[in-house]
Symmetry: C2
DNA sequence: GTCTATAGACGGATAGAC
DNA sequence: GTCTATCCGTCTATAGAC
């Protein structure tokens, strides 16, 4: 099924906003890429700000869906933990790389993260969403997982909050580096592997 | 000695650019804060872009000075290592908190970091400077330090590059969180301490 | 729902007096 | 080196034909 003009406008706008920032993007630019004239945009959105708001709503919608699924199926840490009775390097590598690749390559996620990165200081609501979605949420998820792994005796006793931070923050730093310089991806993936193997060696019991 | 108008323009511009981004700041806004009329700006800078360039030059100047001093005095990792024959939690906490506080509270550094954060995707040069100054440089410094500490037998043998990443990336993540939400500073400092104590426990021999 | 034409406002920058 | 006055280009958004 073909994309509607409205969907195309949202898609193009997200791309441009995430690369140049809201203020630097012209309505004419969006229209040019979509292949229509600028005034036609206003048949679909009442203002440029309205486009931005729609993107934000879509982001919140997806985030809510994602966290809802955390408590029901597939992505619950209890389930993830249940998948392995022993922790091997392979398990951990898979989890870390999956997280890394999702954040880096998922069409929507990667653009929205860039958008939040460059628009976060405009208002506190944006800043809070940014921290919530790209730091606090993964940290909380992983904390729960490490808690369970410790309870099961698969990992050494320790502070699960700090363990989560020590596991996740290198992933976050490497993501920021790759966002800034896409050429670093291979190098970053290799460092990510070394980090996870080392982390596993340290905390696995 | 009083600040010249030119210096004031640069100072105010850095503040505004770092909060709202280059495109969202009006020349009139800068002039208002400085306390002059907008056209007077152009007696000091030939364009708005020229102000931005001057800020960038100042940033590069300071960065060059800083890295030059790494190889001569005070801040050489060889010297830092020489300061302690044993590694205590206190040594490590001091180093971590010093790094954290410098990045977070140094007038110029904290604003320039925010500016790089929100302008990085405008061109590759900015992105490279951002990664260099706020990630690669501290990582490289700490890698050298851990190499020396391992050689001295004060730390367990390991991959110094990964150790540096595991030590520094939580600091980086906490900084990003504090930039987005200044209220998190206390909480972040407390997490930083727990991280460093745990890191020290893991790698100290 | 797309177009052309254009309103209306604003922003960067210049001219020239003091 | 500051001001006032103003130009000129650009941008968001609307009006109205098709």
């Amino acid at each position: 099924m073909k994309k509607t003009t409205k969907e195309q406008i949202l898609e193009v706008s997200l791309l441009l906003f995430s690369e140049k920032g809201y203020d630097a993007v012209r309505v004419k630019e969006i229209a040019d890429v979509v292949g229509i004239k600028a005034p036609s945009i206003y048949k679909h959105f009442k203002s440029k700000q309205d486009i931005f708001n729609a993107i934000l709503e879509e982001s919140n919608r997806r985030y809510a869906l994602q966290t809802a699924s955390f408590n029901m199926e597939g992505l619950d840490p209890k389930m993830d933990v249940g998948l392995f009775e022993t922790i091997t390097d392979e398990h951990m590598l898979e989890m870390g790389e999956a997280l890394f690749n999702h954040f880096l390559h998922d069409e929507f996620t990667s653009k929205i993260r860039k958008l939040f990165t460059i628009e976060q200081f405009k208002n506190q609501e944006l800043a809070n969403l940014y921290v919530m979605q790209y730091m606090d949420s993964p940290l909380q998820y992983q904390r729960m997982m490490f808690e369970l792994l410790i309870k099961k005796g698969l990992m050494r006793k320790g502070d699960p909050e700090i363990m989560a931070m020590q596991f996740f923050s290198p992933i976050f730093l490497l993501l920021v580096q790759c966002d800034a310089n896409a050429d670093k991806e291979m190098e970053s993936l290799e460092k990510l592997k070394r980090h996870i193997i080392e982390f596993n060696r340290i905390y696995r019991s």
